[in-house]
Amino acid sequence: MPLIKIDDREIEVEKGITVLQAATAEGIEIPYYCYHPALSIVGSCRMCLVEIEGMPKLQVSCNTSIGELPPERKKDGKYDMIVRTQTEIVKRERENVLEFLLLNHPLDCPVCDQAGECFLQDYSYKYGRAHSRFLEEKRVRKNEYLGSNVIINHNRCIMCTRCVRFTREISGTNELFVQARGDNSKISIFEDKSLDNLLAGNVIDICPVGALLSTDYIHKNRFWNLEEKKSICTDCSVGCNILVYSQNNRIFRINARENHSVNGYFICDIGRYGFHRYEDAEKVTSPLIRSDGGFKPISWEGALKEIYEQFSRSKDGEKHQIVGIASPFHTNESLFMFGRLMDNIFKDKSIIGKLPFIEDYEIHFDSGFRISKDRSPNRQGLLDFCLNLEDEILQKVKTGKVRLCYALDDGVDRKLDEEWESFFKSQRFLVVQTYAMTPLAKLAHLILPGPSPMEREGTMTNDQGRIQWLKPSVSLTNKTRPDWEIIMEFMNTVGKRELKYSSVNEVNLEMGERFPSYRGMTFFKIGYQGLPKKNIATSRPSEGGQAGNTVT
């Protein structure tokens, strides 16, 4: 392994990596714009110039790979390369490069959405010179739409071509190219081919300056007002890692978060703009009970009392059947609790099913990025925790019995077909746990208000069996309660249990106790990058010390 020296530090590095990578890994900052770890190297911004001993000129560190020298040619007897990043000449060159990059760059940080997270700002402040010697008029161009969600501000562009390389190498869609040369060059698209692929939003993320802007976020807020939360996307079963930016409980944008085991550096536009669905939805903020054809708010105590009366006492002396409808949109913790409720409390009286999975077409990009066909985030978790899941529940449920149904709602993406609608209508008492007035909720007798996907907390298992942490990006409002807590209350009320989990972590621990493949998957342990599920076969866990008088 080559031994190199950067500034005063001796570093042993892999053969073939670049100087920039070596320095960054060691925590030595070398400024750069055009380099991106996921993209090919062009070395066009010249910001990462460093001094390398034995080379007559400054070198771009992003494109200088480290090799091994024969022993007799080693520098100072032992180093394969000696790099200096803080010498006078490097500093001066950085100043000069920045002056060039800023020649045509407007001084419009106050109206620029990138301000606050802009590398041009940061590096100008850190490495730049205070004044430009450029006296001429700056080149001014109009903003253009590159795609329906992307605007380009040509004036701010520094021609790093990250976006161009992205469309060539990651999305493979090739919409962007550099037009003309020199002063006239600009990022452009073919007239008949706008930047509208499913990964288009990522060019906004990777643009180091404020040139590429999202129509969804432009001029909505300032970066420093936003609160950043690390979470995962729940729009398909891949479970991309995301950063959610919100202010005052309102989400403003979603960016990709790096996770090489899941999504790399990027996310798709479905997830990026998906949060608007929950904004538009008609929210359920309080338990609602059906009355006179409509719904009227009811207190939690009232709702639980109603549940007790319906579920624990058989009217007309008939034997009743309890139908549980689980949802792959819920967290592992909620599904674990739901499975427990159905299997251990209602026992043989219950049957557990699910609505048909929401499936769309699967999308693969050449770079390896994929959007799963399965558009529900936690199918794996559903299968893991609801062991007696009936696939053909419509056939299995026998007619003529008293039927009580408890359904976890899939949410705003779910449309009900006629068959399912009539199934739900035939229920004697339908409890729906949801966050919005979905078609399913409209059929309910009692609606319990749960959190929306952006408010949920728990773990999710993606289609690769990776357990990841879904963190709430906005807090619960009004009378809504976490899903697991509602199910726990259900168990306590109907099953006469005295479960007292005070947080989702405790449910998580209990879940690990009962399901060996999830053992030890605490939030602390899985962290922000997630962990693969253990490959242990699951057997039916039983509830210790059951109360005998649960359902009469």
């Binding site: 109206v111 432009i218 001029h219």
Partner: protein, 167 residues
């Protein structure tokens, strides 16, 4: 224990106190005829000294467009967090592409430090010399964009920036 420090030993005349009393009386008597400092407020107005920091205003361009680009630098600089801005893309074609749809200042929170003025890159917010803006309700001291522009209309003949407006 307290230490007694005698800095001055009173003389017999001092101990009589009577002359000192008269001295005091004469002093207040003399003051009765001095010039009065009272300003008869609603009839007479106080003229604040130069650089006085009073009510805010939002400046406009000569064509009537608002100068503010909703960059929120003032809100960021504000130590009292009294400025609340909601930005939006501007409706006009030419000029700045961003403008505030809402611009609220909570005057009860404001400490009139003038940092917003200093932070403003567009010379849009400015502290006028208006000092009498009392109100009967808290809501009345929540001044919005329309109110701030109105203040500009009232005071547009003046430029309160201590550095001359270079545009």
């Amino acid at each position: 224990m307290a230490t007694v420090v005698k800095s001055y030993e009173p003389t017999f005349r001092d101990k009589l106190y009577i002359p000192a009393l008269f001295q005091g009386l004469m002093l207040t008597f003399k003051h009765m005829f001095k010039k009065k400092v009272t300003i008869q407020y609603p009839d007479e107005k106080h003229v604040p000294p130069e650089g006085y920091r009073g009510l805010h205003r939002l400046n406009k361009y000569p064509d009537g467009r608002i100068r503010c680009v909703a960059c929120e630098m003032c809100a960021a600089a504000c130590p009292a967090h009294c400025i609340h801005i909601v930005p939006e893309p501007s409706p006009w074609e030419e000029g700045k592409e961003r403008y505030p749809v809402r611009f609220d200042i909570d005057l009860l929170r404001c400490i009139f430090c003038g940092f917003c003025e200093m932070a403003c890159p567009e010379k849009a917010i400015e502290l006028t010399e208006i000092y009498d803006f009392a109100d009967y309700s808290r809501e009345g001291l929540w001044i919005d964009k329309a109110g701030l522009l109105e203040i500009y209309e009232l005071t547009k003949t003046q430029n309160y920036y201590t550095v001359p407006n270079d545009e």
